[in-house]
Structure formats: C-alpha cells, structure tokens
C-alpha cells in the first residue's frame, strides 16, 4: 500500500503514521481484514483472558461442591479441604433432601407451581396485549402503550407495605396466591411482545384470516400466537427465572410456606456451624435453575442480547 494513496484519502497525518509504520517494518495494509473485529481471528491472549473469565464464573459453584463433599471437621481444619468433589457430597445431599426442618421437596413444588403459573399467564396476557398494540387499530393505542412503558419506571418497593396490608385483607398471607396473582401480567412482557409482533407479524396474514371469517380471537390464536412463539419462549424463560429467584416479596408474605430462595436462610438455622451441610444445601437449592440453564442457556443468551437491541 503506497503512502501516497493513504495521504490522498486520509491526509498528511495518516501518511506520516503510515511511513512510521513502514519504517518499523509493519506497513499499514488496507487489505487486511484485521481491522474488522467480526473477522479477526483472535490470538492466544483472547482465549487466555476468556478462560480466566470462565474460571471465575464457575469457581464459586465448584468451591461449593468441594465444601459440600467435606465434613464439618475437615472444613474447620482447612479452607480448601480437597480439590475434587468426593462421594461425601451424595451423602450430604441425601440428608439435606430428607431433612425434616428444611422441607426441600415441598418448597421445590411451591416454587415450580408459582413460576410455571406466573410465566404461563404472563406469556398469554402479554401476547394478547402485544397483538392488540402491534396490529390492531383503536383509539388511544399510542398513549396507552407509552403509559405501560412508563409504569416500568415505578420502583416496586413503593407498594410493598400497602400490598402487604391488601394481602392481609384478602387473607392471602402465607398463601401462594399472594405470589401468583399480583404477577400474572407485567409491563415488561407487554412491551416485549409488542416490539416483537410489530416486526414479525405481517398485516397480510391477519387480513387473510379476517377475510376467511375468523373472529378476532380466532385470528389471534391461529395467526399471532404461532408468529409470537420465539419471543414468547424467551419471555417465559425470563419470567420463570425472575419468579424462581424472587426473595423479597415471598419473605414479606410467606410464613410457614416456603419457596426455594426462602430455604437458604433456613439452612443456617438448621445447621448452625456445619458449613459442609450449609453449602450442600446451597448447592441443592441452586441446582434446579442450573439444570434449566444447561437446557435453555443458549436461548437465555440470545434473549439477553435481543433485549439489548430492543431496549
């Protein structure tokens, strides 16, 4: 690449730079695709750095497994009692799962019930509203949609105390209804489905269904729902994870009933200074979501990345 050409297109400074590079034996090469990050074949540094990141990401879990495969005594003697998880882990896990104070399976069932109902209903109502906002004509469509988005900015804590009093009035304290009913549909879901459907669902399909004499709901069910499937799956996944992890609200309204996150503080009470058992319990509590991640992690990744472009 001649420095003259570089001067021609980028000016004197670029020419000086090109000459300097050429003098060092590394001339500027316009043909190389190296400047395009998407095409750059990364070197060892990239993979080394990524490996470090992955190691850090996985380490706490691995450490938990190490402690979970130890006994109380071993942990008191050394912070890292072993380097590879051992058979003791199975034994510890078994005694966690059957522990009378923890009631693991009941909490698990509660969590599954709440998360499944909440995500199913969120997906259904959000798709319905998204279909309406994205594809139907009605007065006030735009302002109502903006209003929904604006509600997302309201801090949730503002309503905690009155919500608790309301739940008390309804007789829902210590009942799963207090977790399910307020979360049946949310602003984010409506926003998400509207954004997706306005791009993914062509008007022609809706018109075709209408011409065939389908009712509005029939049109929704046979045209919009199939088109919405990918976004619906992502929304379901995120709602499920959010519901599964939520800790604040269940801690406020539940007493004897438990969900998975509420088991975590129980562990400390049940095994006062037995770090091995506490950590095994943490592992047991974290495991279900990790299984979900192993199955649907790819979708979670693309969901996070899609959210960025839309948000």
């Amino acid at each position: 690449m001649s420095t003259a050409l570089i001067e021609n297109i980028s000016g004197k400074g670029a020419k000086r730079y090109a000459q300097k590079r050429a003098a060092k034996g590394r001339p500027v090469n316009l043909r190389t695709q190296d400047h395009n990050p998407a095409n750059r074949r990364p070197g060892w540094f990239t993979y080394a750095a990524l490996s470090v990141v992955v190691a850090v990401s996985v380490f706490p879990l691995y450490y938990t497994m190490l402690l979970g495969s130890s006994t109380r005594l071993e942990i008191a003697q050394s912070a890292v009692p072993r380097w590879v998880p051992g058979p003791q882990l199975v034994q510890n896990l078994a005694s966690i799962l059957s522990h009378h104070q923890i009631d693991f399976w009941r909490s698990f069932a509660n969590s599954v019930l709440v998360a499944v109902v909440v995500s199913a209903s969120t997906v259904f109502f959000s798709t319905l509203a998204g279909f309406s906002f994205a594809k139907l004509e009605f007065r006030g469509r735009r302002p109502l949609y903006v209003f929904i988005i604006a509600t997302m900015a309201i801090p949730m804590q503002l309503g905690t105390v009155p919500m608790f009093i309301m739940m008390d009035e309804f007789g829902w304290i210590d009942s799963l209804a207090a977790l399910i009913v307020p979360s049946l549909v949310g602003a984010f879901g409506v926003f998400w489905m509207t954004q997706y459907l306005s791009e993914a669902l062509p008007y022609e399909l809706i018109e075709a269904a209408r011409v065939d004499g389908a009712s509005m709901f029939r049109t929704f069910w046979s045209v919009a729902v199939p088109a919405a499937r990918p976004a619906a799956a992502t929304l379901a996944l995120f709602t499920f994870v959010g519901s599964w992890n939520s800790f604040f609200w269940p801690a406020v309204v539940l007493r004897s009933q438990m969900t998975m996150p509420l088991v975590v503080p129980q562990l400390r009470g049940a095994f006062t200074a037995d770090h091995a058992m506490v950590m095994t319990g943490v592992l047991a509590v974290a495991l279900p979501l990790l299984v979900v991640f192993a199955v649907a992690g790819k979708q979670l990744v693309s969901g996070v990345m899609a959210g960025a472009v839309k948000g």
Binding site: I9, S57, F125, A286, M305
Partner: protein, 370 residues
C-alpha cells in the same frame, strides 16, 4: 353458512357481532394489564400515602392519624441515613468494576471466536445461580473459615481471627459488591456485545485507514457507537442496584445488616421496620418507601444525565460527514482492488492467476457502487 345467508336478519346480527368484535377486542386484549396494574399498582401507591400518615402495625392494624410524624421519625433515625450511605457505597463499588469488566469481556467476545456459544453461555453462568444462594456462597468465601481471611492472615495483613469482611464497614461493602459484580457482569457484557455487533464495520475500516490501533479504535469508534446501550445498562444497573436486598439480607445469619448496621441497605431497613421480628412499624416503613422512591428517581435522573454527558463528550465527533468517509473507504477499496487486479494480470501473463486478487475485485466494485 348457507343457512345463515338465507335469513337476512341473521346476517345483520352476525355483522353487528363482527363489528362489535373489531371495536371491542383491542380493548379487551389489553385490559388484563390495566386491571392488574390498577389493583396492584395504582391502589398500593395511593394507599401508601394513607399508610405513611397513620400509625399502623402488622398485628394491630390501622392506628391513629399522625400526619407527617412518620416522615419526621424516619428522618431522625441514624439507621436510615446509614442505610442510604451503605446503599450508595455498595452501588458505586459494584457498578464501576462491573461496567469496566463488562466492556472488556464484551470487547473480547466481539471477535471471530471459535465455539462462540460456549463462551457466551459460560459468561452467563453466574446469572443462573439464585442470588440468595450465591450470597451465601460468597459469605462463606469471605467468612472466618473461607478463602480470603486466612489468606490475609498468611500475608500478615490482618491479626484478628475473625473475618474483617464482617466487622469492617467498608470491607463488608466490598464483599457484597463482589457478589453483585459476580452476578451481573456477564449479563451486562452480553448486552454490550450485542450493541458492539451492530456497530457499522466500515467505521473500523475507516479508523484503520486513519492509522488507529485496536485500543484507540475501542475508545474512538466502539465506545461512542454503543452510547445508547451504555446509558441503558447504567440505568438498569442504577434502578436494580439501589434496591439491593437479597445479598445484604443473606450476608450473615441474622439478616439485619450487621450489629452496627455496617451493611444495612435501605430496602433491608424497610424490610426490618415493617416485616422483621421487631419493631413492626408499617407506617414508618411506608414513609421509608416514599423517601426511597424519591431518592431512586432523582438518582436515576442524575445518572442518566451524567452518563449521557460522559458518553457524548468523550472523543470529539469527526467533522467529516459520514458520506465522505464512506466515499473515501470505497475509493480506497477500489484502489486496492485495482492494484490487485493489476498484480493478478501481471502474474497471469507469467504464471497462474492469484486467486485472492479475483476474490477481492467484486468487493471493490461493490464499494464504489455505494
């Protein structure tokens, strides 16, 4: 259908039904959200004003009207102010490393990697661990029998047997900020990665022609181009980060923010006031909720303005219009293609044609076309 068509009255009815269907359905479909929002959004927010102005207890219910006394009481509590300080301290300690690390990881992932999906998924592993569980894991790591304290002992940095990460206020914030950073860095990195991938690649080409290296390109091309996403990430971080509860609640066994309120955050304070074992003051908790909502709104706004300033004011924007840059790039490409073609022709007269010369020629023409 034929039978229906035979009777005119039925047609009229079905038409009317259909028109009604078209008119009402849109409102019907969006109504679930508005009903839910009215009951569980508007009512609580309005009702919160009432609760905050009454003496109110979980066990006794509504008490007498006290006006603004609850607000005055809260503002006089040292614990309230401590909790605000702690919340901000933890927020800053987690946000800064989170943002820097997420940018770094995103920049690394924004390359032509082998096994892309594997790397992206493993970055997201911390996000798949329940926050309450991961808080307990980290409190073990920072605890007396954990990994960090014995290390500090061995290095002679610390004398006491107990973990400094519980006794010392700032160090407890560091520990809690670590949990937050651990959980959210990968998540934010993927968001930033998505933004980086939508940066027009011509910009990098132009930057290379102008002689900028990879680091300079990151600061002058990548960062300004992902401004909108950066603002989005910072705002969600702010709103989520200020409401931190799970981690400080699970940090020790009592869950009340430490014996001297070392890591008492505002939401944890609200929880203790209203729903803890003691003091059962719902009215005051409602007042805290109001005050804190105000703080969040103001802080989010300030953060928004700041981020926009920083993100916009970075390196000055090029005064050369984009169209000119594009033309220059196209010309350069064409020149390269022409040079290649010449070389290829020269080689062709002597030996076999160079294949890469042929490959590039169409790219050059495409570039000129724009």
């Amino acid at each position: 259908m034929a039978a229906v068509a035979a009777t005119p009255r039925r047609i009229g009815f079905s038409r009317r039904l259909s028109r009604w269907d078209v008119k009402v359905s849109p409102y019907l479909y969006i109504s679930p959200f508005f009903i839910s929002f009215a009951v569980f959004g508007v009512v609580p927010v309005v009702f919160n004003v009432v609760v905050a102005m009454h003496s109110w207890h979980r066990r006794l219910g509504q008490g007498e009207f006290v006006g603004l006394d609850n607000f005055r009481w809260v503002l006089e509590q040292p614990a309230f102010w401590t909790s605000l300080q702690n919340t901000f301290s933890i927020f800053v300690l987690s946000m800064v490393p989170q943002l820097v690390l997420a940018l770094f990881i995103a920049a690394i992932l924004d390359q032509n990697l082998r096994t892309k999906t594997f790397w992206r998924m493993s970055v997201l592993v911390p996000f798949a661990i329940m926050p309450a569980a991961s808080a307990l894991i980290f409190s073990q790591i920072f605890g007396q029998f954990g990994l960090v304290t014995p290390l500090l002992h061995d290095l002679g940095l610390f004398e006491d047997v107990n973990s400094p990460f519980f006794a010392d206020r700032l160090l407890s914030h560091v520990a809690i900020a670590t949990m937050v950073t651990f959980r959210w860095t990968g998540y934010n990195a993927l968001i930033l990665l998505a933004a980086m991938q939508s940066v027009p690649r011509e910009l990098y080409e132009a930057a290379t022609i102008d002689g900028s290296g990879r680091v300079r390109q990151f600061f002058s091309v990548t960062l300004p181009s992902i401004r909108a996403t950066m603002i989005f990430v910072v705002l969600t971080m702010t709103i989520g980060g200020l409401q931190i509860f799970d981690e400080p609640r699970m940090y020790d066994g009592t869950g009340t923010g430490g014996p001297n309120d070392q890591w008492l955050t505002t939401v944890l304070y609200l929880f203790d006031l209203g729903f803890g074992e003691w003091p059962d003051r719902l009215g005051q908790a409602a007042a805290v909720a109001w005050l804190f909502a105000l703080v969040i709104v103001v802080f989010t706004l300030v953060n928004f303005l700041l981020t926009r300033r920083i993100a916009t004011s970075g390196p000055a924007r090029s005064r050369v219009p984009a169209s000119v840059t594009r033309r220059l790039v196209a010309e350069a490409r064409a020149a390269v293609a022409a040079a290649d073609a010449e070389k290829a022709a020269a080689r062709a007269s002597g030996g076999p044609p160079a294949s890469d010369g042929r490959d590039r020629a169409p790219a050059g023409t495409g570039g000129t076309g724009r």
